[in-house]
Symmetry: C2
Subunit: 375 residues, 2 copies
């Protein structure tokens, strides 16, 4: 599933294949990739391009990307969105459609997502819907987007009643993870991204979890070899799961570990108050705790997860919203069936299952992990 390929510059580019038949593509991981389109893509030069980015990323990388794309597309346009999960909504998405139509883009236009998870989701969903589907390329610039959201073709916007409720499966042509972009990432964003990295251990690869326990300080120090391994191993695990279950039956749903509680935190506080990765971190603690109460995993596993997330500087308690509010929001989760909440729970070390749980157990878990609760 992965290999090494020499860049023009001589640096190694790691490639992870996402095997989806005619929708297969590669995740490329390396340094300096944003400036080296020859390493990652060969679009038709006569087609146009639209780069979707945000106000934070544009000053850092947009000009460089436009310059590279101008050598490969006849016309290159860009649109800059406001930054933050609170803007992952229809009015903001519509700015992408406005830009595409005002720039006379057409079915042969490639949409490039340059930014984090929000930009990737919005650009990907715009590409899925514009003229009923155009090609797109993901250029994730945050750790969270590189290890998770840019891979696998899930795109969506939020609805006031729930996260990622309106969206599409739309696979990219290629995902280009330039590790250099992690150098400009704010500390809080780096830590939030680590939540999704940590996630892969308990659900799929306990040895990776143990590697993370040994290398979390290297990752926080942005040590290049540690980042490369963390991004690559995360992409490999995700690619493997997506290849076996593209449209999320119960298998792909294991990637949602921590997300049922996490999405409820995000929606309950208002999108953007906590970063997605922060909400997922607290959500994983609750999901692990629920797994232990159901006898699916042991307390020691939970404790190691809490310890690792704490070392990442991530929250391990949930905000003090009413317990009923958590239950109400989770009944809207996409895994729910007829009001029955279904959680991704740990089943031992390196394995997860989708499972329902009685409301009283869920209440206990929320209440014991609430911020400010005496435990």
């Amino acid at each position: 599933m992965s290999g090494v390929h020499l860049q023009a510059s001589g640096a190694a580019v790691q490639r992870v294949a996402v095997e989806l038949g005619e929708r297969s593509y590669h995740v490329l991981i390396g340094h300096g990739l944003l400036d080296d389109a020859t390493a990652w893509h060969s679009p038709a030069v006569d087609a146009s391009a639209m780069v979707v980015t945000n106000a934070t990323v544009a000053p850092l990388y947009l000009d460089r990307l436009l310059q590279v794309l101008r050598a490969r597309h006849r016309r290159v346009h860009s649109v800059e969105l406001p930054d933050g999960e609170q803007h992952k909504d229809w009015p903001t998405l519509n700015r992408v459609f406005d830009a595409l139509l005002q720039s006379r883009c057409d079915r042969s236009t490639t949409v490039y997502a340059l930014g984090g998870g929000v930009v990737g989701d919005m650009a990907g969903f715009a590409a899925a819907c514009f003229m009923r589907g155009v090609p797109h390329v993901q250029l994730p610039t945050t750790l969270l987007a590189q290890v998770d959201s840019s891979v696998g073709g899930k795109t969506a916007i939020n609805h006031p009643l729930g996260k990622n409720m309106i969206g599409a499966f739309h696979q990219p042509q290629v995902v280009v993870c330039d590790l250099d972009t992690l150098g400009t990432l704010p500390e809080r964003e780096l830590r939030a991204g680590l939540a999704e990295v940590v996630k892969y251990g308990p659900i799929a690869d306990w040895a990776f979890f143990e590697w993370l326990e040994h290398h979390v300080d290297d990752l926080l120090a942005r040590e290049p070899r540690a980042l490369l391994h963390a991004v690559k191993r995360s992409c490999e695990i995700k690619a493997d799961i997506v290849a076996r279950d593209e449209r999320e039956g119960d298998l792909r749903a294991v990637l949602n570990f921590g997300h049922t509680f996490g999405h409820a935190i995000e929606a309950g506080l208002g999108f953007g108050a906590w970063l997605h990765g922060e909400a997922v971190a607290a959500g994983m603690v609750l999901a692990a705790s629920l797994s232990a109460r159901l006898g699916l995993t042991d307390e020691a596993t939970c404790a190691r997860l809490v310890a690792l997330l704490s070392r990442c500087g991530l929250p391990t308690c949930v905000p003090a919203l009413p317990t009923d509010r958590y239950l109400e929001l989770m009944r809207l989760d996409k895994k729910a069936r007829d009001g029955d909440i279904r959680f991704t729970l740990l089943a031992g070390r390196g394995r997860a299952v989708v499972h329902s749980a009685r409301d009283d157990l869920v209440r206990e878990v929320v209440e014991s992990a609430r911020q400010g609760a005496s435990s």
Copy 2:
């Protein structure tokens, strides 16, 4: 591709298969089908249902459909949209998402479209995007929806800059054409639907065109056997084309005969001023005229098309918008490539091709067919 199946009531139900591998489904055509769900569907009874309809259709058929669905779904909800192409937009679509989430619908919910082309497009697109895709059933109640828009999985909403610019390919589980619903159809809507019926002759089946020349008065009189044949033959032709080109390469684009000019009329006048079928009728006249000027078809074919559309009471001239406005709007057509407008043109009788044309020829055609122009 078609067969006969006896309904419980003893009346014959015609079935047209849309062969799309795992996305295959049937179009059922007959009388009394709305009240006889046993003839058309067997959803899981524990899943919920959401019926999307509009303010015109709801008083006529909604209660009957809800009663039938209550026997087959644990929970049945409905949402009523305003009627008209001018409402095929995001704010109206969002009412469907609001209803789905407020009613706690989930990934197992089936969305039913009860109405004409606008309802079908919006319900279908909502089903495509809600939680990244849920099943849907088309119950078209207009001639236009029965012969064209409900079949083939194209769904979309309009953008102020162009028709059907934001959408998805999302095939239904089944399409149920209850011919009885055509009895309540306003005269103008019946005539507009005939435009899409007429379309199939010149592009795919000249014998059908000649049959229409002989039976247009029967169709306008809503003679049941004539309607049955027209709906069935239209669905057969569409199913055959869609099966060979689901996602619209050049083959499926032949179904767009008249639509490049037609969409420009609709967008130029403001959505809803002309009915879609009226705009397509005038658009077919222009496209045929352009085909003749390019030597792809003869004047006699054009004259017969104009004559038949006139007998249907459909417009054969375009509204008096500036010629430049037509060109500007058509450059945004989904078939356009890098500003080069591509038309579906006739290539003889019963055959169409996708072809570009010089701007000066397009101008001549628009100007010679403008309402009020001396010709």
